[in-house]
């Protein structure tokens, strides 16, 4: 071989082969390490994800069936009452006065001032806001009740009273404990908020009966006590029948702009000035 190839050429070929060998060893080791580090955790997740996929598929079939049976759409109620095209101030004033009467009887707020409205201001997406302003004397309980009333105005269903994270927690629990429970859960979440406030035990009991697993029961109890559902029961539990009777439900949606509390004349009482916005659609 020495006679056919020069030692220099042989040395260069040797170096090239040696270098390529090192590179292949390096790549092979990396590939094996990558499988150990990335592949194995992913591999462990796959069966769980595949199971979830099956569960979700089953839940979707059930939900589609349930949706087909549903009569009327809550979105229509939103368009008609919550964010209507007609000016909703009168309906809101009427409902606020109704709430104020009940709170006055409970001795937590005083006489509500006349409600001033300002001119409409465009917001976006065919929506305008109508600023309103009023004053009222109230104590600590009255402050809480007034805020609860205003910040729950416009919510239609149980789902609307819950935070997205709370709804997600319910979905996760049902998925894990009882996938077919999606139907009773859907019925619970779609329940009219006023009907729920009137008889919360019946709604929660019925859901518990359909999904009796202890972890779900404990989650439902926790949400019932710690979420806005408690505020819903507190504020609409007593007011509900009157709001329905006077055809004031669903309420127009309100957001608070400013709340100013100044020390009142009696100890523990405040003079509150509330600036808020009610909304109206400019196109149906």
């Amino acid at each position: 071989m020495n006679k056919k190839f020069s030692p220099l050429a042989l040395g260069l070929i040797g170096c090239l082969c040696f270098g390529l060998s090192l590179r292949l060893v390096y790549e092979s080791v990396n590939q094996i390490v990558a499988v150990r580090q990335e592949g194995l955790p992913v591999l462990a997740e796959l069966p769980v994800m595949e199971r979830r996929q099956e569960v979700l598929k089953e839940q979707l079939e059930l939900s589609e069936l349930q949706a087909a049976l549903r009569v009327g759409s809550p979105d229509e109620l939103v368009h008609a009452y919550v964010l209507p095209t007609e000016n909703p101030v009168e309906r809101f004033v009427a409902s606020l006065n109704l709430a104020a009467d009940a709170l006055q009887q409970a001795g937590v707020i005083g006489e509500i001032s006349s409600i001033e409205t300002s001119s409409e201001q465009p917001v976006k997406n065919g929506l305008v806001q109508i600023p309103i302003r009023f004053s009222v004397a109230l104590n600590e309980q009255g402050t809480t009740a007034l805020r609860q009333f205003m910040l729950l105005a416009g919510r239609l269903t149980v789902a609307d009273a819950l935070l997205p994270s709370e709804i997600e927690a319910l979905f996760e629990r049902v998925e894990a404990d009882n996938p077919t429970g999606i139907v009773p859960l859907e019925q619970f979440l779609s329940a009219n908020l006023l009907d729920y406030a009137h008889d919360a035990k019946a709604y929660e009991g019925s859901l518990n009966h359909a999904i009796p697993q202890p972890l779900f029961t404990s989650l439902l109890m926790q949400l019932s006590e710690e979420s806005a559902l408690r505020d819903v029961r507190d504020i609409f539990g007593g007011l509900g029948p009157e709001l329905k009777q006077q055809r004031l439900w669903p309420l127009p949606l309100v957001t608070i702009q400013e709340l100013v509390l100044r020390q009142g004349r009696a100890p523990g009482w405040w003079q509150a000035t509330v600036t808020a916005s009610i909304y109206r659609r400019t196109e149906s």
Binding site: L8, G154, I182, L253
Partner: protein, 194 residues
């Protein structure tokens, strides 16, 4: 010496070339035959490589996300997007509700012998700018009114939403009716969980 080294290198060139060539062949063979065996994973009874595994994982993640979105659309009754945005605004505003009670608890904790020490003359919540203005004074505390005010400010900062409470000018004033007192007027930017 140089001539000797050259002759050693010339003699070693052929064995080194042969060794490297055999090494490359062996490593190549290992890479083609053994490495795939070591890096294969079993997906639903099929032996596949890491790339296919990651692809399957990404595909399943996307399918689950799509199914969750579809389920929410079917199960959650109100889907109007404008309503959704305003509802989230209301829910953000609801986060302020526990604030009033927490401030009142601090004020009550400062009472001495049934007399108010930290007084709140005005609580102004600006829900749009997300600020809280507190105006009042520390009274009935004699010469320690400034230290009570410092305690009040520290206590406010212990409420997560009021962690950015600014330091007011600490001053002691005299009033014929109130005696020694320390006024405060602070605007606190509110921290919210988004």
């Amino acid at each position: 010496m140089q001539h000797k080294l050259q002759s050693i290198l010339a003699c070693a060139a052929a064995p080194f070339c042969l060794f490297s060539f055999v090494l490359l062949g062996s490593v190549g063979l290992i890479r083609l035959v053994v490495v795939p065996l070591l890096t294969r994973v079993d997906i639903n009874g099929e032996q596949q490589q890491l790339g296919a595994l990651l692809e399957r994982h990404a595909e399943l993640s996307a399918m689950l996300l799509e199914a969750e979105t579809k389920r929410s659309a079917l199960v959650l009754p109100v889907q109007d997007p404008t309503y959704g945005v305003l509802k989230i605004e209301q829910q953000t505003q609801q986060q302020f509700n526990p604030l009033f009670q927490a401030i009142n608890q601090i004020v009550q904790a400062a009472e001495r012998g049934g007399k108010p020490v930290v007084t709140l003359q005005e609580i102004h919540v600006n829900y749009v700018e997300r600020t809280l203005r507190l105006r009042g004074d520390v009274r009935n505390a004699g010469q320690s009114s400034v230290s009570v005010l410092a305690w009040f400010i520290d206590s406010l900062r212990s409420i997560p939403m009021l962690a950015d409470t600014p330091t007011p000018p600490y001053e002691r004033k005299e009033d014929p009716y109130l005696g020694q007192y320390s006024p405060y007027d602070i605007v606190i930017p509110l921290r919210l969980d988004e």
